[in-house]
Symmetry: C2
Subunit: 237 residues, 2 copies
């Protein structure tokens, strides 16, 4: 057994081994990872009134993951514009995708949680995944975390090309939804701003004559997509 493992409790040793299995490395500071996998339902209160749950680490991990994925897509797609990159990144770090990722990698299983105390379990797994990234970052630094995310997570568990090709068409999704719900959909140009190639289109989408989403872009088509995405978020979350 590795020397540093001996200093840990049985539970800590199990956690250290699980992390090694998932990522290929042994954690340095085990306390960070214990916190990453502690849901607020089983956390205790610290001085200052805050809890030693994984939520602060989740906030940090979310930002670090965002930066790493931004960098990765920037380099992977040198001829795509920032709208494309932003959208693809949103898909990768969407709650839905992170939940899946977390379950697939076995990260969700490490989470300590009082299941009776919560109603909505839908995002706890993805949240723990982000907290885990936050813990790795504090423990090992940015470059190491980036390597783990790219080599251990993206490479094996995220099919970026598939995510790209199945690019969400928000406009057609909204229209489908509206047909099912028997509502009308309308895209309306609210205003144009600027001139020539720098003209900005402001598009509203109306559901049953009521504005439900807004989109702005230099391309009218994209502005409609953004408006549809905005409306979908409000209508079906």
């Amino acid at each position: 057994m590795l020397k540093f493992l001996k200093k840990l409790s049985v539970e800590e040793r199990q956690l250290a081994n699980s992390i090694k299995n998932i990522t290929g490395f042994y954690p340095g500071n085990i306390f960070l990872y214990k916190m990453a996998f502690r849901h607020r339902s089983v956390a205790s209160e610290l001085s200052g009134g805050i809890k030693d749950s994984n939520e602060r680490l989740e906030y940090l991990g979310d930002a670090i993951l965002g930066a790493v994925i931004a960098d990765y897509l920037f380099k992977k797609f040198p001829y795509k514009d920032e709208g494309f990159l932003t959208q693809l990144r949103s898909k990768i770090v969407s709650r839905e995708n992170l939940n899946k990722l977390s379950e697939k990698m076995g990260v969700g299983k490490l989470l300590l949680i009082d299941k009776d105390s919560i109603n909505n379990k839908s995002s706890v797994s993805g949240n723990a995944f982000e907290a885990f990234i936050g813990a790795i970052y504090l423990d090992k630094g940015y470059n190491f975390t980036k390597k783990i995310i790219l080599k251990r997570i993206i490479k094996y568990h995220v099919d970026v090309d598939e995510l790209e090709s199945t690019e969400l068409n928000f406009k057609s999704r909204l229209i489908e939804w509206a047909q099912k719900e028997r509502k009308t959909v309308e895209f309306a140009l609210e205003k144009e701003e600027g001139k020539g190639r720098n003209k900005l289109f402001h598009v509203n989408v109306l559901i049953d004559k009521e504005t439900k989403g807004k989109g702005v872009d230099f391309s009218k088509k994209k502005a409609e997509q953004y408006a549809a995405e905005d409306a979908l978020k409000k209508l079906i979350g």
Copy 2:
């Protein structure tokens, strides 16, 4: 004169010296910085139809800046919860604050732009600032960029404690706004989810009886703040 400066054109040398003045370092790859300061109104089209403007770098810089500030606040405020950290970060990286920062540091002055071709100049300076961060990151890596942001930007140009203490009270700002506009404001509890200390409050804010913002939090007070913030964004941008 430094040897590498000799290889640059007169304009590039000026840019390199300006960057040295602002940040304390000479750029390695001057082309990244030229792109960071090239607004789309003066950019040319590359193959693939995208422009060699600063927008892709802005996307990247935004993510890197977000990560660095998340890390900084996480460590500066060990006893504040993620809601506080998220809100304070939003204030630091708000378009308004980045525009100010950019002008104060002289970054805005480096921007090449065709002023006649654009109507809305309000955010170009802050955007260039983000693109500049993106260029530094690609040129020098994360740890260097973090050092520049913390030691050269936050330390001299951002009063985090003041930003914290003048914490925006969105609820009172919304009420003020509504009084001026002669509209009614109402906060309504839409639903409660979960039990005990894990109860989530869903709050709607209604302006003239119409829902204009939503907020969710474990604290009802905070949920109201978030709802007010959401409404303010939609109502006054």
